[in-house]
């Protein structure tokens, strides 16, 4: 990663942590006074090296794990703050860093809800990972 790519990547995370629900080249560039075209180039490089995933055909961040830049079935809630997550793992991962709270997963027959309190997840259900670790990025959206 170039120094500027590192800065862009870290800024993407700052934006998500601060509550942004949509992060793209324009938002990222504007937040730091950077040149948009430079940020676009960084985003492509970051996506090519699997640091982030972009929404196809755009400069919008779809995934900066564990955060999602698009609406998903997974949402982490800490007090009055909340974040979109990519999957059942990430919805818990966000709580591991942003503070204890609730993790929601929308299912056809209703929401699944986990509560994290004092480092304990309840109810302690299961996460089913379909894709082996070495293939996580083959199709990370499916993963």
């Amino acid at each position: 990663m170039t120094p500027s790519d590192r800065q862009v990547r870290a800024q993407i995370y700052r934006l998500f942590i601060d509550g942004a629900t949509m992060v793209d080249a324009g938002v990222t560039a504007e937040s730091r006074g950077w040149v948009r075209e430079d940020v676009e180039a960084s985003l492509y490089r970051l996506a090519e090296t699997h640091r982030i995933k972009l929404v196809a055909g755009s400069h919008r961040v779809e995934m900066a794990h564990p955060f999602s830049g698009v609406n998903t079935r997974y949402r982490s809630v800490v007090g009055d703050r909340s974040w979109n997550a990519n999957c059942a793992w990430d919805v818990l991962a966000i709580l591991a860093f942003m503070g204890e709270g609730e993790a929601f997963a929308q299912e056809a027959d209703g929401d699944l809800v986990w509560v994290v309190d004092n480092g304990k997840v309840s109810p302690d259900g299961v996460v089913h990972l379909l894709v082996p670790a070495r293939h996580f990025w083959d199709d990370v959206g499916f993963t």
Partner: protein, 60 residues
């Protein structure tokens, strides 16, 4: 039932507690500018420290 409904094969089933605990290590430092991805060996060691072993968790 879920596998049948989605046409998916069974993968690896881990407890939510395990994945929450793993996250603290897996994403440690991830948001920092100087973060670099772990090597395959480092990643496997992190998985293994949470009991996640076997071919499913192999990267090398």
């Amino acid at each position: 039932m879920w596998l049948k409904a989605t046409g998916s094969r069974r993968g690896y089933v881990a407890s939510c507690q395990t994945m929450f605990d793993l996250s603290k290590d897996w994403y440690d430092g991830r948001f920092d500018e100087d973060w670099d991805p772990p090597t395959a060996e480092e990643a496997e060691a992190t998985f293994a420290s949470h009991g996640l072993t076997g071919d499913f968790w192999k990267l090398s």
